[in-house]
Structures are given as C-alpha cells and as structure tokens.
Subunit: 217 residues, 2 copies
Amino acid sequence: MSGGPHEARAAGRRGGGRPARRAGARCTRDEILGAARDCFAERGYDRATIRGIAAAAGVDPALVLHYFGSKEHLFGDALKVPVEPGQVLRRVMDQRIDDMGPTMVRTFLEAWEPEESRSPLVAMVRSAMTNETAMALVREYLGRRVFGPITQALGAPDAELRATLMGSQFIGLAMMRYIARIEPLASASVDELVAAIGPTMQRYLIGDLGGGASVGG
Amino acid sequence: MSGGPHEARAAGRRGGGRPARRAGARCTRDEILGAARDCFAERGYDRATIRGIAAAAGVDPALVLHYFGSKEHLFGDALKVPVEPGQVLRRVMDQRIDDMGPTMVRTFLEAWEPEESRSPLVAMVRSAMTNETAMALVREYLGRRVFGPITQALGAPDAELRATLMGSQFIGLAMMRYIARIEPLASASVDELVAAIGPTMQRYLIGDLGGGASVGG
DNA sequence: CGTACAATTCAACGCACGTTGAGTTCATCC
DNA sequence: GGATGAACTCAACGTGCGTTGAATTGTACG
C-alpha cells in the first residue's frame, strides 16, 4: 500500500550513475524540496500551497505531485531535519557536567542560526501548531530522539519532567527569536544567550527543582 | 473608513434597555463569539472556517458576517483577552522582590488553567504562528501591555532582554503544556511548576545574566 | 393596522485549492 | 532509428472557502 508512482526515485536505477533525462535541469526534485521547505517555514502547512511551491521552484504544480504524491507526503519529506539529534546529544554529554547547560544552549542556537537549517526547523514548529499530523510527528520525533535519550542519561526519577522543562525553554526561545522575531531577543548574540539561558538549562538538568527531593532537602 | 454595517451593536439604541427583537434567541452574537474562540483555539486562524463557526453556533454563516463583517474582524473580536495584563502586573509587583518570579509563574498558570480563558490564549498563540495579522497583533499587544510595563518597572539597562527572556520561557511553557500537551509537563501540578520555573523567572528578572558585569568575568 | 427595522436565512458568486489524466519532449537503449 | 520511459506541461475536475444581496420572519412602535 501507499506505493504511489512518486516512490520511484529520479537518478540511478537504469544505467548506474548516468545523468538524468533532461539536460541542464536535473536536480528539479531537490529544488522543489527546497522551495517546499521555504514555503512551509514561511507560511506553515496550511497556508503553503502546492501551486506556490511549484512557482517558487519554477515548475508546474503537477510535477510536484508527480514526485511526491501528495501535499502531506511532500511535507513529510521536507521535514527531514538537518540536525542529527544523536550527534548533538553526544556532543553535550561529552562536556563536564557543570558545562552541559550552556553547551546545550550553544548547540541549539548553532543548529538554528544558519538559514538553510533554520527553514525546516521553523517549518516544523510552525506547522505543528495547526496541523495534527505535523504535531504528532514532532511529538513522536522529540520524544524518541531527544527527550528519550536525555531522560535516560539523567537517570533521575523526575528526568522526564526535567527534559520537558528544557524543551519548553528551547521552544520558547526559538519562537521568540526566530519566528516572532521579538527584540532584543532576536538580535542578541549567541554568547549573550548562552550566558543568560545556560544556567536555566543547567538547573533543569541537575539542579534543585524544589518540588521533590534531589539537592535542597 | 472601516465603518461596515456590522459596527452597529445589537441591543439598546432605540428604547433604552429593552430586550432584543427575537425572543428566546437573544445572545446569538455572544454564542458566535464563543464558537469562534473555540474554533480559532482548536484549529488556528486558517483552518477555522466561518462555516464551521456558524455551525458550532447553530446559525447561518451569513449571520456571522452580518455581525462581524469579515473573518479577520471576527478574529480580532474573538481575541479580546480575558486577562487584564495591567492587573496581573500589579499583583506581581506587589510581592516582595524575592517572590516575584514564582508569583509570575503562578499568575501565568492561573490565567491559562481555566478552560474558558485558555481558549482565546491558545487561539492567540496558535494563530500568531501562521497569520501575519495575528502575529503583529500579538507582538504589539505583548510589547505595549506586558513587556513594556515590566521593562519600565525593572529600570535596568538590559530590562528589555530580561522581559523577552521571561516571555520565551512562558510561551514555551504554554506551548508544551497547553498546545502540544507533552507529558509529564502537561499533567504537572501548578505548585510543581511554580517550584521548577519560579527560580528561572527570578533570575531573568533580577539575577545575573552573565553577559555583562557582576560575576563570571 | 401598517410601517420600520433588527434578526436570520437562502442561494449564489468567484476564487483558490489539491489532485488527476492525457499529452509532449527528449535522452537512452536495442 | 524506432521503442522506451522518465521528466515535464496543460487543461480540467470537484470541493470548500469567504463573501454578497435579496428574501423572510417577527417584534416594537406610531
């Protein structure tokens, strides 16, 4: 099931590594994907249109469907996150425990700063707000790839709460800085934000949360 | 300009305080507003439809436009926030300075917890993600009614950064708890969250942000 | 009673959307 | 050099949307 005609990939297949059919206009598929990422990021799932994406890529709307089958499928493919969370986590976990909070903030910001990796992330957050499919996708993804490992690494009984607290500060930061672009947060330097938010993360990671047990009592 | 036929209000005008024309079905306008709030909150501006709102209110779609003129105008009216920020701020500012952070968190949560006041807030956040008008509206509103007063009260040179840092934690909390409903944050008690996030707010309010002066150098 | 007018509905408009299927072009393979 | 099949376009479909204007209902006032 779900084996639409769009499943067949463009290059390869026949000759081995030969160029695709149309000379000079080969990587159309990737251009569509890029345009889709931009549009989804800029407008969210619902306001982004196949027609708009096609126009941005300079092709016919039908070609988009030819490659990706449906808008929802295109969205799924455009959402492939350019940041490998496992790798990110390893980098953070390699730090001395006292530096983990600030390192998390810096790593997070470095993932968001470049324009090309920001797009799919903005698309993810923005679309998750209105689209149930996107929301479920994001929730599952974050749970399995981000919060899960952190929870496991922490080992504390309230690890899951800690992980989601960190998530809340991160998602809020992303929204204010990259989506709503509210000043002066939008223009603050990475160092400034690491200094400001790092301790928050540190506390959520291993500090006393006051409600339970760990340190203070 | 913008003086559409919908501007004229329902009751009053002629006799003084007499009931409206149609007996038994008087407060239709308010029911439409309520349905609009629910729909905007549940689906966001774009996915919410006039037809859906009308159906939820049990009336004809045309009646919605008759009262509110346009979808955008209806959205504006539905967005009237049930929380008076000035009043909230006064409550916070009345605290001893050491308790202001936790009090802010508690006040914030108490504004979001009740279902009837949560709807327009969720609508606000959700719609601001995809709709440019809503985003501008929210940004202007927050700036003038929330961040502005806080900034002024703090008096510090980095007050604006502090205000937006607080905003980022709040918006992230709202998204994780009330919109994405990610556990265990979604089910944590208010007290638990006040204990966990209160110190964060306190630090953003008057603590050392590390980037400038006191410690860390 | 008759006029006036708010409340409400009905039927339709034009538009933009996602999607489809048939058609065209062109590099490759026998 | 004809067959193949991918890359790509064109024209159209059905649907649901926001919005409109005329028509209907029912109450209050002269």
